[in-house]
Amino acid sequence: MLSKRIIPCLDVKDGRTVKGVNFVDLKDAGDPVELAWQYAQQGADELVFLDITATHERRGTTLEMVKSVARQLNIPFTIGGGISTVADAEALLNAGADKISINSAAVRNPALIEELAKAFGVQFVVVAVDTKLIEGKNWVHLNGGRLITELETENWIRKAEGLGAGEILLTSMDHDGTKQGFDCLLLDKVAKSINIPVIASGGAGKVEHFTEVFLQTGVDAALAASVFHFGEIPIPYLKEELKKHHIPVRI
């Protein structure tokens, strides 16, 4: 049976891992390559690196960091942040990234999803979506939640799937950093409405939140940062707990 994936997310800036509360007040949580290796040892199923400053400050992702990670890591990883062309993506592929994640660039130029899928296959293309609930509707936001768009979240995700997204990484900006649990309502709606894997993101604070999101929604993976970085939830313990609830995991 296909396992539900546990994905630590390493937000990186200047080659160091950071994680903000609601994307503000950044804290330093270590060296990304070392953290990545530790996570692989602990049983993480996959890793996501997001260069959170890349879009905002137009900084490209550090290819050297990606290469170092690929040399040491025996599990797959995704890299996102500042990817706006096929050439950006190809450089990351050649540096050893298994998947790339695009966010703002896909919103500004949806054809990019199609171009990337054609060039490298849908399995390479993760479309990351940051969403906020405003007056009962979910809207896609850009630049780490700073900028609202005219796209309704569920519509945009269906469109992205149609264009060739291989996976959706859905972050609720309302839940992110709160540690109050994932947005199960939205995640379940989204997971049911598309036929590609969905990664839940935003709000993980304790083990029960992971149990909830896998039991109550059809998501394929759950992503978190600070609860892993600061050792609040050890991954082996998390997986044992999920297994007790008959959630398929890799141990």
Binding site: L2, S3, G96, D220
Partner: protein
Amino acid sequence: MIGIINYGAGNIFSLCSALERLNIPFGMVNTAAELDSYTHIIIPGVGHAGAAMKKLEQTGLVEPIKALKKPVLGICVGMQLITAHSEEGDANLMNIVPVKTRLFNKDQGIKIPHMGWNNIEHKNNSLFEGVENDAQFYFVHSYFIEYNPTFDIATANYGMPFSAAVQKDNFYGVQFHPEKSGIAGERLLKNFSNLKQ
């Protein structure tokens, strides 16, 4: 020493990194003559099977590969290339293992691509020596190799049983990515490098 078929279908950085970590020496095969320099051959591959086959044909390596008597391992799309045909691009492939590569059926309530860690049942083949039955490997693919008891050496289940690994004589194929499959994957690569000619 392992020779990696270098035909431009996908990235091989991760595969090379895995072999480096395992201290398994390797080099690149660009021409038929270079096949002779290696004891074992890996056919990597990511992306579109039909497009990958075209690229492989352009290298002129198809017939020389088919004639090999040394151990050959196809990984992911590289595995699909050793089958007869793929529904992806309706492509005729190398037909070393006479089975078909087919598209997963989304009507079975499964998501496509099949992406993530899935367990396999293996049949005590040397390729899986020391790998626990039920071990999990990392898969990422939308097309699969139909189950055929003659060639199947490991089975996975996604909507239906399919071949996670096949063998015919000296030709092996694995649908998952051993270079991304943690310790189990590293063991498999080591086992392949130890297969006798």
